[in-house]
């Protein structure tokens, strides 16, 4: 099954959310993470979910591959509700990168990359060829693949994490604050590389970030989430030119003031 895209009718989004709600456990109706959110993620589009921390954007991302479950509403994959026994198959077709990379410390970078492909039955030659190809794309010296995560810098680790997500040419790439833990210089370089990867990658990309400039640089569509609801959904230009309300104005304003401080 490796390499076979998920079957879906033409024109159907890979992921869509229908009136999805989420409350945090233990707080009854207390903290609302998501409140009746409906969204579609189209192939070939890079979408950035932005918002303040705790706005529910990470929860939303995690729901797409079943790492979190909605309390209300539905998550549709290829137009059909996501069933628990389909989680594994779906996750193999979706790359997922987190802020700390999630590399396994007991495995070398190369073995981290090989985990899923090996399980999918790839031979070592194919795994290494794909790893070299991605290393070139992410500008990572291939000899570093022999190292353990503890022997890599933060930027190198995130490069490997992105490579691991891309190994089996997934149908979608989900990134949760992938550059959040990096220092500004490394972050700047990696933003550039991510943009190139996204540009050559025709499938669905969903990126979570709290940095508006990064979102605008990497994504063609921004979705601003505040207090569990979508406040504005549009292009970066829409956000600047036609902010939906005061909060959007303040959010974009706060970000723009930063470089001048």
């Amino acid at each position: 099954m490796a390499g076979t895209p998920l079957r879906r009718p033409r024109g159907t989004p890979l992921f869509s959310l229908e009136k999805v709600s989420k409350h945090y456990a233990g707080t009854d109706a207390g903290v609302v993470a998501l409140n009746q959110v409906s969204l579609r993620f189209e192939p070939g589009t890079v979408t950035a979910l932005i918002g303040t921390s705790g706005s529910g954007k990470s929860t939303l991302l995690r729901m797409l591959i079943g790492l979190d479950r909605p309390d209300g509403g539905r998550v549709l994959v290829g137009g059909k509700p996501l069933l628990p026994d389909e989680h594994l198959a779906l996750r193999r077709r979706v790359g997922y990168v987190t802020q700390d990379g999630g590399l396994f410390p007991h495995l070398t970078a190369r073995d981290n990359l090989a985990l899923l492909p090996r399980h999918l039955g790839w031979n070592p030659e194919r795994i290494d060829a794909r790893a070299r190809e991605l290393a070139a794309r992410m500008q990572l010296p291939p000899e570093l693949l022999r190292r353990y995560p503890a022997e890599l810098s933060g930027g190198q680790r995130q490069r490997v994490a992105v490579m691991r997500a891309l190994m089996s040419s997934p149908d979608a790439l989900l990134l949760d604050e992938p550059l959040g833990a990096l220092d500004p210089v490394v972050r700047f370089d990696l933003q550039e590389q991510l943009r190139q990867v996204f540009a050559t990658y025709a499938n669905t990309v969903v990126l979570v970030t709290h940095d508006l400039a990064e979102a605008a640089f990497l994504a063609s569509r921004l979705v601003l989430i505040h207090d569990g609801s979508v406040v504005q959904d549009g292009t970066p230009e829409d956000f600047m030119a036609r902010p939906a309300d005061d909060f959007v104005r303040r959010f974009t304003g706060a970000q723009r003031r930063l470089p001048q401080a």
């Binding site: 591959i65 790492l67 989680h87 594994l88 198959a89 779906l90 996750r91 193999r92 077709r93 979706v94 997922y96 987190t98 700390d100 990379g101 999630g102 590399l103 396994f104 410390p105 007991h106 495995l107 070398t108 985990l115 899923l116 399980h119 353990y148 995560p149 503890a150 022997e151 890599l152 810098s153 933060g154 691991r164």
Partner: protein, 494 residues
């Protein structure tokens, strides 16, 4: 009766692993019982019947249970113990026939008395007895001036001194309570004139003590007899003949001398029994130190190895399940923690009815003790894996089995190996107690040494046990180093 004097026990089967079908006899954990069993074994051997003798298996309760369960086919017992401790339903005034009948309903036969009575008695220095003409307990009536040194137990038991004094109508006399062993010293040094004793005590020989005759038959009789399983005697007529051969075989004085030979002259029970039978020259040569050490080491490793292996095979999967299902895991850990609090001796006794005597119950007990550290460390190791890593593994789309084998277990391997190592070291120590129920190992010389008061014999077990514990510790440190993935040993880089 010497069970009160010597608390602890020893030794497993004789060196020779005898054939499957040969009758098994047991002995209690004191010299007299072991000598009696060796006499039977050697005597049977002379008639071409091999018996397996399980040395010093424990106290009366353990031997009695082992006999009823069929773990052993015979052991030497005392009629007083039977009446007072083992056959509670027997009326107090039941005669010998009633006793035999009660035993028969249990499938147990009772042999003819061996020829001596191991009972309470009073003793005086031989020269004092000669000078005062003391022969019986009644003779003490006329000697109110004698000083008594009595053991605490004897002085306080209703059937001890208070009853004795009444039965013989003794006048009040100077009386001191003292430890039984010290009483012998006090008697020898002339500090007291009369002490209580057991009729077969070795010291009677050493200190030239006159044992006064219980002419009014105040003390209950503790005649030595063989108890045996009726089915075993029926199956093997030669075994039955050997048991019959023991009737009136051992006079009181001979028993005293043999106890003295072992306890005072430090000779081996087997050798003493062989001398008694007059076959000392035909005795097989005793194992040398190194071959004994080798045998104990093999036995010990077997106890530790099998129990630990089984605990890993079961504890690891249970630990993995417990880490996944927290609530059930807490319950399981709770159960094993309770098991851990059961004292080893009690655990052995619980397991004897289920598994009999010897290595099996010891291995089972060690297995149960090993479970907790292995399970707990497995749970701890798995639970301490950072949540983001678990989520990253889940997000990759790998099935549970692959995640467990390729990611979770390697990340938890240090804690798991540490738990197995802890269990192994505890096992090496606890396994020495296996000798109490005839499991062999390093505990065998330790318990023999305690029984005989021989420090070199104790060290013959204690030193190798300590060395093995250190070795096991080092071994598991090595295993941990070997199994810990290199990536986990690296210091994190900025």
């Amino acid at each position: 009766m010497k069970t009160w004097l010597i608390g602890i026990a020893l030794l497993a089967c004789t060196a020779s692993a005898s054939g499957e079908s040969s009758p098994r006899i047991g002995s209690k954990n004191f010299t007299e019982s072991i000598i009696l069993a060796e006499i039977l074994r050697l005597d049977a051997d002379q008639h071409g019947l091999r018996l397996e003798h399980r040395h010093a298996m424990g106290g009366s309760a353990i031997l009695w249970k082992a006999l009823l369960e069929g773990d052993i086919d015979a052991y030497p017992e005392y009629t007083g113990t039977l009446r007072r401790e083992l056959l509670h339903d027997l009326p107090e005034n039941a005669g010998d026939d009633a006793l035999a009948d009660a035993l028969r309903t249990l499938g147990i036969g009772i042999g003819a008395p061996l020829g001596f009575d191991d009972s309470y008695a009073l003793g005086v220095r031989q020269e004092l007895a000669d000078s005062l003409g003391l022969r019986t307990l009644s003779d003490l009536q006329a000697q109110p001036g004698l000083r008594y040194g009595l053991s605490n137990e004897f002085m306080n038991r209703g059937d001890g001194w208070p009853g004795l004094k009444q039965a013989y109508g003794y006048a009040p006399s100077p009386l001191r309570a003292m430890d039984h062993v010290l009483a012998y010293r006090a008697l020898a040094s002339g500090a007291v004139d009369v002490i209580d004793l057991y009729t077969t005590d070795a010291e009677i020989v050493r200190d030239h003590i006159a044992v006064l005759d219980d002419d009014r038959h105040y003390f209950p009789s503790y005649q030595a007899v063989w108890l045996y399983r009726l089915d075993a005697a029926q199956r093997d007529p030669r075994f039955a003949a050997s048991l019959r051969d023991m009737a009136a075989k051992v006079p009181l004085q001979a028993m005293r001398n043999m106890n003295a030979a072992v306890l005072l002259d430090k000779r081996a029970e087997t050798e003493v029994a062989a001398s008694f039978l007059g076959i000392a020259g035909m005795m097989p040569i005793e194992d040398g130190l190194w071959s004994r050490l080798w045998r104990h080491t093999l036995e010990h490793l077997r106890l530790v190895g099998i129990s630990l292996g089984a605990a890993v095979l079961l504890g690891l999967p249970i630990g993995i399940l417990a880490a996944r299902a927290r609530r059930a895991g807490q319950v399981l850990l709770g159960i094993t923690a309770v098991l851990q609090t059961i004292p080893s001796l009690a655990m052995f006794v619980f397991l004897i009815p289920l598994l009999g005597i010897g290595a099996r119950p010891a291995i089972a007990a060690l297995f149960l003790y090993s479970l907790l550290p292995i399970m707990r460390n497995t749970v701890t190791g798995l639970a301490s894996i950072p949540a983001p890593l678990l989520e990253a593994a889940a997000a990759l789309g790998l099935p549970h089995r692959v995640r467990l084998l390729r990611i979770e277990l390697p990340l938890a391997v240090r804690a798991i190996v540490g738990g197995v190592g802890t269990a192994a070291v505890i096992n090496v120590g606890t396994a020495t107690l296996g000798a109490l129920i005839g499991a062999g190992g390093y505990g065998e010389p330790i318990l023999t040494g305690i029984r005989l008061g021989s420090v070199p014999t104790i060290l013959e077990g204690a030193i190798p046990a300590a060395a093995l514990a250190l070795l096991v510790l080092a071994l598991f440190e090595g295993i941990e180093r070997l199994l810990t993935p290199r990536g986990l040993r690296l210091p994190a880089r900025k």
